[in-house]
């Protein structure tokens, strides 16, 4: 259904207003929004052989409830945006790897047809997505045999390549992809024996625990981890054990499971090697760029959206965020024409800037700063908490004054939270800091 060749009006063109790095849900939505905002010089660079990104392997449904008010599969959801890109005549290059982004927005990329080439962009939108935390980074003791996969790799093998990793499965980590794969592998005839989660709470959405584990009778063992992997050539068994509050295994709680497959779903890491090399400031909490209200990074004209910015639970929010990044990139380029050097170096803007502070259970906020002049009338601030909070309040403080106090029955790390700020309340109010925190009462 998608073109598999390079699709550009003129491959020798080496200047674009907007270069979008990544043709997944974030890049597609950013491109469509930028085009609709009036920019005609947009190029998407995608490393895979089709647009759509990771959605192409997410063949389960549940996508698009917020955006389209219907339940779509991943490829269907992606297709809605790919179609927009086609219809809007936005240029893209497939099988194209971005090798470097310079601080002055020269993008170096490579593919078979064009070789290595450079594009000077007025604005760059980072939309590279994220990767899974591999086994090595988890320091799981034991052998290193075949049969250990990150859940997303297994998902690609099963859903796109049509191969089964194995028939007896243990899953470590309860991230959403792991939960989805528990169901997928079960439907494909495998026996999923257990899902072990190091933390006392799941890293995934509640609805996935119900629909992917509970409905299939797959046990979820919270506060458990893998303490040994057996099998020199191919995995034959794993041992899991309970962990104490220090997350260290409790001796005597070991249970051995024979298996031929171990799937890991232990966290996603925004892929910011290019951003980092370009000099974009990254948050140590999200591993994504630090951005302002316009989703602009520390480098003027470089924007970020989607999972490269912070890992999302729902693609709907990715699309919405990415559209804002696309619109803001267009605004930025328009601004370049009107006033030279507006932005970071502008002392008036400096004076207006509000810093968002995440504390008391709130791990981070996106964005990190707000210029009330530049924000939309309503600005969604997204964040995650570091623990499970029951019957607690999400509080928002403008400097020392509490302006919002929302009761929530449950707030969990696996579900992204948000507060909405109104431009009218921030403009000219002289606010220095906005603090978001969790309060018991």
């Amino acid at each position: 259904m998608m073109a598999d060749t390079v699709h550009t009006a003129e491959t020798t063109a080496r200047e674009y207003d907007i270069v979008i790095v990544g043709g997944g849900p974030a890049g597609l939505a950013a491109a469509a929004a930028a085009k609709r905002a009036g920019n005609d010089s947009i190029l998407i660079l995608e490393r895979d052989h089709e647009l759509g990104g990771i959605l192409n392997q997410c063949i389960h449904n549940g996508f698009g409830l917020h955006t389209f008010k219907e339940e779509l599969t991943g490829p269907e959801y992606a297709w809605r945006f790919i179609q927009q890109v086609y219809d809007l005549g936005i240029e893209y290059k497939l099988n194209t790897m971005v090798m470097d982004i310079s601080e002055d927005r020269v993008v170096t990329a490579m593919n078979r047809e064009d070789g290595m080439f450079q594009i000077r962009a007025k604005a760059v939108i980072l939309a590279m997505g994220c990767r899974e935390r591999p086994r090595g980074a988890l320091n799981i003791p034991g052998y290193r045999p075949a049969g250990i996969f990150s859940a997303g790799t297994a998902q690609r093998l099963v859903n796109m390549e049509g191969y089964m990793p194995g028939k007896e499965v243990v899953i470590l980590g309860s991230g959403d992809i792991g939960l989805i794969m528990a169901r997928r592998m079960t439907l494909e005839g495998a026996k999923v024996k257990v899902v072990a989660e190091l933390m006392p709470y799941s890293g995934g959405l509640k609805r996935n625990i119900v629909q992917c584990l509970d409905d299939f009778g797959i046990p979820l063992k919270l506060s458990h981890t893998v303490v040994d992997i057996e099998g020199k050539e191919h995995i034959t068994a794993v041992t899991i054990a309970e962990v104490g509050p220090d997350r260290r295994p409790v001796p005597g709680t070991e249970e051995r499971y024979t298996c031929d497959t171990l799937l890991l779903s232990c966290g996603l890491i925004p892929e910011n090697e290019l951003s980092k090399a370009a000099g974009v400031e990254l948050s140590p909490v999200t591993s994504g760029p630090v951005v302002n209200e316009s989703l602009e990074t520390s480098i003027p004209g470089v924007f970020a959206c989607g999972n490269v910015l912070h890992v999302h639970d729902l693609v709907d929010y990715v699309s919405e965020e990415a559209a804002r990044a696309g619109e803001n990139a267009v605004k930025y380029i328009q601004g370049l024409g009107e006033a030279q050097n507006e932005g970071a170096a502008d002392p008036a803007a400096e004076a207006r800037r509000i810093t968002l502070i995440a504390k008391q259970g709130v791990r981070y906020t996106v964005p990190s700063t707000i210029d009330p002049e530049k924000m939309d009338d309503l600005l969604t601030v997204r964040f995650r908490v570091g623990d499970v909070y029951k019957d607690s309040y999400v509080s928002v403080y403008f400097d020392d004054e509490r302006v919002s106090h929302m009761k929530k029955r449950i707030i969990a790390p696996g579900e992204m939270e948000q507060v909405i700020l109104q431009k009218s309340k921030l403009t000219g109010a002289g606010i220095r800091n906005i603090t978001i925190m969790i309060e018991k009462e």
Partner: protein, 480 residues
């Protein structure tokens, strides 16, 4: 057919001996139980080219280490092996152990190590800023270096093969004996091999073969070492190979850059009975984390991308056992090759092949070719050169491993070259595809597809590292 030499083991020692023997007119064959070269002890080590100061004065180990270090520069150039002479530091954390540091210095001088210096803390910090607060002094050895252990092993084997040495993979030597005519019979899972001489380069199993033929028994303990490898983003954390003062278990935990820009922390030292037990343990990783902190401060252990364990072939006398076995004429040991074995391998090759050349009266080969080229590294090319390459070979324009920026062209080269890759690990060790921060999460399905195409095998037979290490079990919706 009767070979002149059969070498047991295609690790770095066996391959070095094979490469040196390939200079002569002789029929040489290497038997390897794994599916590839470099699949035992040689694949999991520190990749350090040691200066040679800590070996016992007058030992074979000291001699081979210093000579190996001397030979490494030229060898690396000839065989296109990544090698950097970055120097090493041995740190002293205790004012009361300054005598030990001095003793190490003196031993180094006696071993013929050049350029050694003892530096006080301030001097040391100038060249290595992240040394731990407790470090009081260091010994600097400028001749130490780092090398890619995979490429070293693979290049030696490739070069031997280019010059006529045969390699038999998945071929495990099981028993051997010598007949009345002085011909050695080696029984393997793939038939019997006859040879005039045998080189025992069997790593942790070298004692097993030695003890089959000699009354003078030796004993090799598998000494496990756990390592952690850190991401390239923290590659500038350390500039030299930083050792601790040696103990009876070896050179202690080192912190070192790798030749590819990662940081390596390890190894631990646990003596074990099982010669296959390359499993890491939680204790091991904890132990190395704690001990490494004695040399370097604030090691970014959050950036660990993988941990692994290797086995050193530790001989009870902590000495290399080289040369013809007295009561087994024609049987040559390369046993007890633990650290500094990697450094020493060019010297062990030179020494062992010299003995065999003299014993068999081998003549120089006229058309011996002493050079090899590594899998082409396009990142070393200019944009123009790279585009020329992509025009000729478009596969160099498709990136398969995004973390290490490895193209399809490089992977095809790794598979198609002599003794080419047959598995994901084989591709990884030749190209680094899959060796980066995502640890093959993204590229393994694509590398599998390339292997399948090139080798003409079904996906179900593509392996991680040969044997039973298959990656997928069946098509979906099919019974296994």
């Amino acid at each position: 057919m009767i070979y002149d030499v059969v070498i047991i083991g295609a690790g770095v020692t066996g391959s070095a001996v094979a490469r040196e023997l390939s200079r002569y007119e002789a029929n040489v064959c290497v038997l390897e139980k794994g599916e590839d070269v470099c699949s035992g002890t040689s694949k999991a080590n520190s990749g350090i080219v040691h200066a040679g100061y800590d070996c016992q004065v007058g030992s074979m180990m000291a001699r081979m280490n210093v000579r190996g270090n001397e030979l490494m520069g030229q060898l690396a150039e000839d065989l296109d092996i990544p090698f950097k002479r970055i120097g090493s530091l041995a740190v002293c954390n205790d004012k009361d152990r300054m005598n030990d540091l001095q003793a190490l210095y003196d031993r180094g001088i006696q071993n013929g190590v050049k350029g050694l210096q003892i530096l006080n803390r301030e001097e040391a910090l100038e060249i290595e800023p992240n040394l731990a607060d407790g470090v009081v002094a260091v010994m600097y050895a400028p001749s130490a270096g780092i090398v890619c252990p995979f490429r070293l092993n693979i290049a030696l084997a490739e070069n031997a093969n280019r010059n006529g040495v045969e390699f038999r993979f998945n071929t495990k030597a099981e028993a051997l004996c010598c007949d009345e005519d002085g011909i050695w019979h080696i029984r393997t899972n793939n038939g019997e091999y006859l040879t005039r001489t045998v080189v025992n380069a069997a790593g942790v199993y070298a004692d097993v073969f030695h003890n089959m033929v000699s009354e003078k028994k030796i004993h090799i303990t598998a000494r496990r070492g756990d390592y952690c490898l850190l991401d390239k983003t923290v590659g500038n954390f350390v500039r030299h190979t930083v050792f601790q003062l040696p103990t009876k278990y070896g050179k202690g935990i080192l912190v070192s850059p790798t030749v590819h820009g990662n940081v390596l922390v390890g190894p631990t030292a646990f003596d074990i009975e099982d010669k296959e037990a390359t499993a890491t343990t939680a204790e091991g990783i904890d132990d190395l984390t704690a001990k490494a902190a004695l040399s370097m401060k604030n090691i970014p252990m959050r950036q660990v991308i993988t941990s692994f364990a290797g086995l050193r072939a530790h001989e009870d006398g902590h000495e290399f056992i080289l040369g013809e076995v007295a009561d087994a004429p024609g049987f040559y040991d390369c046993a007890g090759i633990e650290s500094p074995g990697l450094t020493s391998c060019p010297a062990i090759g030179e020494y062992t092949s010299g003995l065999i050349r003299d014993a068999l009266g081998l003549k120089n080969k006229e058309n011996w070719i002493g050079t090899e080229k590594d899998v082409l590294d396009p990142s070393a090319l200019s944009i123009e050169e790279r585009n020329e390459l992509i025009r000729k070979e478009p596969a160099y324009g498709t990136i398969i491993c995004r973390c290490e920026s490895i193209s399809e062209g490089e992977i095809l080269d790794a598979i198609r070259r002599p003794l080419g890759a047959r598995s994901l690990d084989g591709v990884k060790r030749r190209t680094r595809a899959g060796m980066g921060r995502c640890q093959a999460g993204f590229c393994s399905p694509r590398v599998m597809e390339i292997l399948q195409r090139e080798l003409g095998l079904p996906m179900e037979e593509i392996t991680k590292s040969g044997g039973r290490s298959t990656i997928v079990s069946s098509r979906t919706k099919e019974d296994a």
